[in-house]
């Protein structure tokens, strides 16, 4: 069976899988961004307890395999009485994992804002929280954005793992179709193309235009 013929026959299933992939991507991206902000700022907090919590989180989720984390959340937590629905478990695992990487990006970006900006904010007597929110974070976000673009592509590709806990994403559909038809080249070829299109044609231009917008807000474009 030719590739086009294959697509003509199986596109509805691939499309519904793609949609699930996009949903997982969106949910885990939101979660990872929120977590990375919290953990990144906690890593810079004056309170040792907050710093310790953040360090533990980052080390735990960055230092172990995402697949193992996914299995823990989906298969092991129910043994302790905490059952999480598969879609949620997938988003949670990916969000927690990527958030740990993102925390380092946030921390690095905050530290990369020139010292003079902190001092100027202090000289007009801003409170520490105001300083962070009004002066430092807007500039840190612009600094962190290119690296975040990278991380979000990683996140998108990591979503394929949720097929292993039977979330019907594009990879899951591909495996199902492969099991029924043995058209491995076509089906996994199609999956490859779909991930590439999502990353290259949606994510990258999206991040680039966001970068441009943020930069012009900073007045440096």
């Amino acid at each position: 069976m030719g590739f086009l013929e294959f697509l003509a026959q199986y596109w509805p299933r691939l499309l519904s899988g793609t949609w699930v992939t996009i949903l997982i991507f969106a949910c885990s991206a939101v979660l990872s961004i929120a977590l990375s902000m919290i953990a990144g700022l906690c890593k810079l907090a004056p309170t040792p307890l907050l710093r310790a919590v953040a360090v533990c989180y980052v080390e735990l989720f960055r230092g172990t395999s995402l697949l193992v984390q996914l299995y823990w959340i989906f298969f092991v937590l129910p043994l302790f009485g905490l059952t999480i629905e598969k879609f949620t478990a997938g988003c949670l695992a990916i969000g927690l994992n990527i958030g740990a990487y993102g925390a380092e990006l946030v921390k690095g970006a905050v530290l990369a804002v020139p010292r003079g900006q902190w001092e100027a904010a202090l000289a007009i007597n801003m409170a520490p929280a105001q300083r962070m929110r009004r002066v430092i974070l807007p500039q840190a976000l612009v600094i962190a954005l290119p690296a975040w673009g990278n991380l979000l592509i990683e996140l998108l590709k990591a979503t394929a793992l949720v097929s292993l806990i039977s979330v019907s994403d594009v990879m899951f559909e591909a495996k199902q179709i492969n099991g029924q038809t043995f058209l491995s080249a076509q089906v996994f070829g199609a999956a490859l193309v779909i991930y590439y299109i999502l990353a290259r044609c949606l994510l990258t231009p999206g991040m680039r235009s966001l970068e441009k917008r943020m930069r012009s807000k900073l007045g440096s474009a």
Partner: protein
């Protein structure tokens, strides 16, 4: 911190200095930057600090702005301690909250302007009054428009700093500091990062401030001519101490100490 209470400030009405350094010590590890510094600045007085690099000039301003903590002694502003607070009759190092309540008396302009790049000139000026002083936006805007006009930057008020020259950015920075209505203004080498042709536009603004407003000013500069023109008093710093101080005429025309003479000679040769 032991003897602080034994050297109270003389609180005698109008003569209370606005700024008082009492035996202030600042060290970075083994490097002592300020050594038992005593310095008083009277209300409305313009004091300029000159001296070789590494003599602790900038540190005087930075510890007064509370950008750095001091290791000994105490700084008083308006007769009340800034770096310390009274607890059971003893001066103890001040909490962040206390420092924040006292810091509003002081404003500062930096060598590299440090305008907020994501805000326009006007927004830069309004940020403090609106966010810190909780002033209504319209009122803050009026105040800042007036200040931007005074520094000659009204026509650029909607521009981001990246669209402004160094001299223009520094003038906006002066307006931003003044918008907080500080009692004491600190100028830390505000012309050092500027191209020679725009230094005048910044020094003229400061001249105007000295002439028309009763601000207390403490300034670090390398512009000796400028220091001579506007200062009531010039302090020559050397090795973390005031080596010599006096009126501009005294210090520049008739320096007593050898180090002062050397420094002024070197500066003159450089021109």
């Amino acid at each position: 911190m032991t003897n602080l209470m034994n050297m109270p400030l003389q609180l005698t009405g109008d003569t209370t200095p606005v700024v008082s350094f009492r035996k202030v010590r600042k060290a970075y590890g083994p490097i002592v930057v300020l050594e038992d510094l005593n310095l008083d600045v009277a209300a409305g007085e313009t004091v300029t600090i000159v001296g070789p690099s590494g003599s602790g000039k900038t540190t005087v301003l930075r510890v007064l702005m509370t950008l750095e903590t001091i290791n000994g002694g105490c700084i008083y502003v308006d007769g009340k301690p800034l770096t310390h607070m009274e607890k059971n009759g003893v001066l103890v190092p001040a909490s962040q909250k206390y420092i924040r309540s006292r810091r509003s008396d002081i404003g500062m302009c930096f060598q590299h302007f440090n305008l907020f790049p994501h805000m326009t000139a006007l927004e830069n000026c309004m940020e403090g009054p609106v966010q810190v002083l909780n002033m209504p936006k319209a009122e803050a805007r009026d105040r800042c428009v007036e200040l931007l006009e005074m520094v000659g930057m009204l026509h650029k008020m909607d521009q981001h700093p990246s669209r402004l020259s160094g001299g223009q950015q520094q003038r906006v920075a002066i307006a931003r500091a003044l918008a907080m209505r500080p009692k004491v203004m600190l100028f830390d080498e505000v012309t050092s990062a500027l191209d020679p042709e725009v230094i005048g536009e910044v020094t003229n603004v400061i001249r105007k401030l000295v002439a028309e407003h009763n601000l207390t000013m403490l300034m670090v500069t390398h512009q000796m001519g400028f220091a001579r023109d506007i200062s009531d008093r010039v302090c020559f710093f050397y090795g973390g101490k005031i080596e010599e101080q006096g009126t501009p005429a005294e210090l520049f025309s008739n320096p007593q100490r050898e180090r002062t003479q050397q420094f002024l000679r070197a500066v003159k040769e450089a021109i």
